[in-house]
Symmetry: C2
Subunit: 194 residues, 2 copies
Amino acid sequence: MPRTASFDRDVLIANAREIFWQKGWAGTSMKDLEKGLGLHPGSFYAAFGSKDALYELTLDRYVEEGQARLDQLLHVHGALGALKAYLRSVVEDSAMPVRACMLSKTLLELSGQDNPLASKARQHMATMEARFATLFAQAQKQGEIDNVVSAEKRARRFQSDLMGLRVSAERGDIDALELADEIAADLDRTQAKA
Amino acid sequence: MPRTASFDRDVLIANAREIFWQKGWAGTSMKDLEKGLGLHPGSFYAAFGSKDALYELTLDRYVEEGQARLDQLLHVHGALGALKAYLRSVVEDSAMPVRACMLSKTLLELSGQDNPLASKARQHMATMEARFATLFAQAQKQGEIDNVVSAEKRARRFQSDLMGLRVSAERGDIDALELADEIAADLDRTQAKA
DNA sequence: GGGTTTATTGAATGATCATTCAAGTATATA
DNA sequence: TATATACTTGAATGATCATTCAATAAACCC
């Protein structure tokens, strides 16, 4: 029957994620993708349909990997430890091409233009937030932190701080690891109600 | 002598700031600017030189206005009160077309492409951070907050939290004002060393 | 190994991008 | 009112954008 494709779709999506993450949506041209993925237009469109469709796939992949990393940290450090370790990991992991969160980058670049990808980023943020809430609830249940403030509120604040940390890290002129540790240290403290 | 220009340059920069802030750098086309400013290409290039040059002007303007707003809040609420009020103001001010910080948007969109405007955003962030540090030092001097942690460190954390807050606010699906109050409440608490 | 089927190639498409510039127009002085 | 001077206009520029498609090449089944 037919000829088999010469590329590994999964690898291509991973490469595309790196390119999009670094250069942004508008900043990544088809030429960049063709060069980075080693694909000519015909193959590209046959495999992914469009630039936007591939971007969406990379966004999904990005979140899946974040969740997997969090699961792994949970297994090693427990709930509270995982949350703390996650803060460090996002600014110290040298495998990550960019410091800022890809969801934040997508949201900030595209929400003003009502691009559907911005909504997609919003949804993924909500998913991550829910994941954080589960971990906070677990930490509370195990007595690692108090339950003066609900796990949901803790999660929302955590994600906000996390995104701030990662924007700060993108600046490059400050000690992001120190900042991460400061945020992590706050997790231990009894939370005051706003 | 010559004919006088029919437009107010200051008003045009303010309009451009709004357009750029909302739609982003790549998301704003010359057509958008021509329409939004009521300027034809010739007039535009005579007045501003290039799209990038105007963007830089709007970035400067953006920071000037932020500083002015902070000065005003300082006069009304004092140092610590100004910092708290600033947190609220960035998410509740209906005159602001966008929630996310324009410096963050610029940095995240353009740092991956090594655009000089990203460096400009970085510089402005450092300027704002220094301004915050001055306010924290003042608050410490007046005994409004402890001095366990230096004003500079406080300022860095404050700006990080602020940027996180504003990215969160851009999502639109969470109560940003509540989040702002939570961050503000933390300013009163004795700061633990990381 | 021939035929079928699908992957690959790369030129072509039309749109839009930022920018330029020559021609036309209005104003302020003299 | 005449003229000099600068502003305004909008068509034209060449580059680059994402995407399409007809032609070519390769691999699998019979």
